[in-house]
Symmetry: D3
Subunit: 136 residues, 6 copies
């Protein structure tokens, strides 16, 4: 079993808040991340795929295929976007890094399987001081 990881980046705006909570409660739980005027990040995404090494290519998955899948399914929908307002797979979800990792997993699991490999881990770095890892 071999694991291969692709690193991609995207920039986006977001805010953390629950519509059913008032401003005070949102501010208490989410601090300055609940700013109604938005803030944003340079997100770093690591997609790890596992599988057998193919005898003919020496690859778990062709990185051209993996990169194309990540671009079309994830980066194009997130890059330079507002996560709360514009990203379909994040609607109805708090725009936390944890939920973003789950949302990205759901976009990538099936297309990677169609290429004969298996999605292993989604890692999303929000800042240089924190990141989440999700294994499905």
């Amino acid at each position: 079993m071999m694991y291969i990881t692709r690193r991609e980046t995207f920039n986006a705006a977001h805010r953390l808040f629950r519509p059913e909570w008032d401003d005070e409660k949102n501010s208490e739980v989410f601090g300055k991340c609940s700013n109604p005027q938005w803030h944003g990040h340079n997100y770093v995404l690591y997609v790890t795929v596992k599988g057998e090494v193919d005898d003919h290519t020496g690859f778990v998955i062709n990185l051209k295929d993996l990169s194309r899948i990540i671009q079309s399914r994830v980066i194009e929908r997130l890059d330079h976007k507002n996560i709360n307002l514009e990203v379909d797979f994040m609607q109805g979800r708090l725009a936390s890094t944890e939920n973003l990792a789950i949302g990205i997993w759901e976009q990538l699991e099936k297309p990677i399987q169609d290429k004969g490999a298996q999605l292993h881990c989604i890692r999303v770095e929000e800042t240089e001081k924190n990141y989440v890892s999700y294994y499905g």
Copy 2:
């Protein structure tokens, strides 16, 4: 002459656009950076100060002082904010990295002088692929 540099970070939302241009023209010049729903970045700020090394302290400037100035004059006003809407010193200016560097310079020049040193360079990194440097 010695140069000392302090690195700080802040997260913010912004968009590039000119109100007197229509959407098409804004999109042509600024591309996806003109998205009306905002996007954002983890900005990295390098503040370089120059001066003589003080015989008693071995310092150009005490980093505690420099850090306090940068925090109160720049980071607190930019971090987790919308640069277009919420940052007073960016009002009336396009929210480009170039103009942000000029704006930050103007906030820091005087207070650093008051500590007996001289602001030398403001460097702002917007993404890991581009940054600007401004020498006043």
Copy 3:
């Protein structure tokens, strides 16, 4: 199950040696790391916590809480300190990176549990060329 990681840094002095060994033996095993006059490092600490994502907050653990725990239990006791002489939880232990990771685990396990999450991994980087990971 979701994993979230916080990165923190601290600077400290230490030396590697066993008091019951003579200088020659200490030097043979620990090399220049046994220098009696001390040396030091910019340590980088990664604390990984696992748990379910909370429906209301979208968090495994609130990073404000996690950061406060790491600051008060670990960073304040290690930063700008001599690990051999001044850090209570390292007394009676060789100041190796391995033992430091175990010591830090012991400080964090309980307070993180009290917040409803579970400590998963302590990673300590001593230099850019080596780090240890400890899973309890």
Copy 4:
């Protein structure tokens, strides 16, 4: 159980291609990585070793030993070399990052065992955008 990781680097040339395929087929599968005139990389290698922490040394393995093993068994044979033409343990194998990780594993497993520890993971970074991890 404790895990310790050593980071090393080497520079090498390689190309991806199968001799039994014609140029068109090689180019279709491997893209510009099949360039017959070679290209190259600054490879980054992470070797992770696991074991119990020794009571006398506080170490899983003495890093001087680990470093010497990696140098003599891997770095000296790969650094500033052509992986396809000059590296004995890569003969008969496509010079993919996956196969390189397997080849490196085979060189290190036994000598690390002889030092009383166990090889856990070989991670090879080919560029800043992709890396593989192999656990044997």
Copy 5:
């Protein structure tokens, strides 16, 4: 005067040698960098451009233009190539990092001028331990 820098990467093979010197002399001067079977690097290129900030765009130069120029004039000719054999602007020149910086400068100076800005610095990193800077 404002300075803006764009970071790009390319992978290439090369070797250092003088055809009029024998192998011994080449090896004495260039060490393992003269390996006749080639080696290679992940080169990192920083292109710094200076100019006035445009009132309408807030830019020294539109990064879309700068990026397109660097791609077409430099990256496409160097990426996944053999610098000694395949890069026209390096013919007749030793493939040192210094000469590579000069060669890249010559490709970029004019097209950047045509966009109303001025090339200021070419920085080429060959490994994480060394880089050159050239100011024309």
Copy 6:
């Protein structure tokens, strides 16, 4: 004129204090950096040399020579040492990053000149948040 930079690292212990000041005064000026039990850093050193590119070698200076000079004159005297107690060229000087840069400059200026090049800049990073640059 071409500039070439070499990056090296060393680990050392130090403290900031003036012997003629009492503990209170030292603590007021230097904060936790004045801890009498020492602390330490992973210092990063960048040595920049300038000169003409040699027609025969394509080099400003042979990096093997530059590296050997930095190793013997600087790294061996600083690495795993106590800067205040054990480094001859820092005796009688406050162990600030500024003074360290001056001290390192003095060790390197002459031997680099003897190789036909000119020392241009010493940059010392004490932590990832601050560094100094000295141009002689």
